[in-house]
């Protein structure tokens, strides 16, 4: 009883502190404190050549963070890949009707197209490497769910996925190093003299589309590895 009250007290007091914090922040008079976002919004298109400002922040202004996040994903995939049991079996033993199989079969090309579109047009429309990668990852996931994990891994072996993931990560770094080759800083885009092109065209914004592709490859393969690893069991 005392312990329960104590726990409740802890939660209540933490909530109280948070309330104090947020109300303070709310009452704070904040003007001219967001020059950075103002700059991103007003100059972003010219400086990076990407119409989608989220992409311009993710892949140009703060592309280094993206590298770190991609690494986190790779680490997670590696962890799950080696923690899976050696023996594998279908977790979902249910067999579906033919409708499901056929629907899946016809769904896959559409998903692929959607994924490629989201990745390729990441700098022009909402989406980008991360989201497109997830969409691409749905293909092997769907395969595993309907046809079973063996089939999915027969089509795309874990090793292939691993290699694709690594190639994505290496590609990202190599693209960043292109700027170093021309004598600029790591991950420089417009500053390194890569043609930004006309904003709004598919081939524009310098390196951003290629970075998008790399991240897309990496995220797609990584998530597929994670999902398949989660499905396996003894």
């Amino acid at each position: 009883m005392v312990k329960k009250l104590y726990k409740l007290g802890l939660v209540v007091s933490l909530g109280m502190f948070l309330f104090v914090l947020f109300s303070d922040i709310h009452n704070l008079d904040r003007t001219s404190k967001n020059y950075l976002s103002e700059h991103y919004i007003s100059e972003g298109v010219q400086e990076t050549g990407a119409i989608n400002l989220v992409t311009s922040v993710l892949y140009d202004y703060r592309a280094f963070d993206t590298l770190g996040e991609a690494t986190v994903l790779l680490t997670a995939a590696t962890i799950l890949a080696f923690l899976v049991p050696v023996t594998k079996a279908d977790m979902l033993g249910t067999t579906f009707t033919i409708i499901v199989y056929q629907a899946t079969k016809y769904l896959i090309p559409f998903i692929a197209v959607l994924g490629v579109y989201v990745i390729m047009f990441g700098h022009l429309s909402p989406g980008g490497g991360f989201v497109g990668g997830v969409v691409m990852a749905l293909i092997p996931i769907l395969l595993s769910l309907t046809y079973g994990i063996d089939f999915s891994e027969y089509k795309l072996t874990p090793n292939t996925k691993k290699v694709v993931e690594d190639i994505g990560a290496i590609g990202f770094i190599l693209l960043g190093l292109l700027a170093v080759l021309t004598g600029n800083n790591f991950l420089a885009n417009g500053q390194a003299g890569f043609p930004l092109g006309n904003a709004g065209e598919l081939i524009s914004a310098g390196l951003i589309p290629y970075l998008n592709v790399m991240i897309g490859i990496k995220v797609g393969a990584g998530l597929a590895i994670i999902f398949n690893s989660l499905m396996k069991e003894q």
């Binding site: 989608n52 977790m91 909402p126 989406g127 998530l223």
Partner: protein, 80 residues
Amino acid sequence: MDMIVTLLMIFLLVTAFFMVFTKQTANAVIAFPIFGSILVVLFVIFQAPSVAMAEAVITAGLATGFFVITFNKTKDSRKE
């Protein structure tokens, strides 16, 4: 418009509380994509389509799948 936002916010809170305080894990797992979907709508309203897209694909789609699978694998200790 404000009305809708307020309503969605309230829904958001309700789903969140439901997720935390429900006794059965399955309910929480299923409530999770609902939470995500409401967020997606909110993001769209706030003119953040990129974030909305990510939210839709990752939270409502992929993460739920992960949760379902993980939930299937864990056994209910009370039943045994």
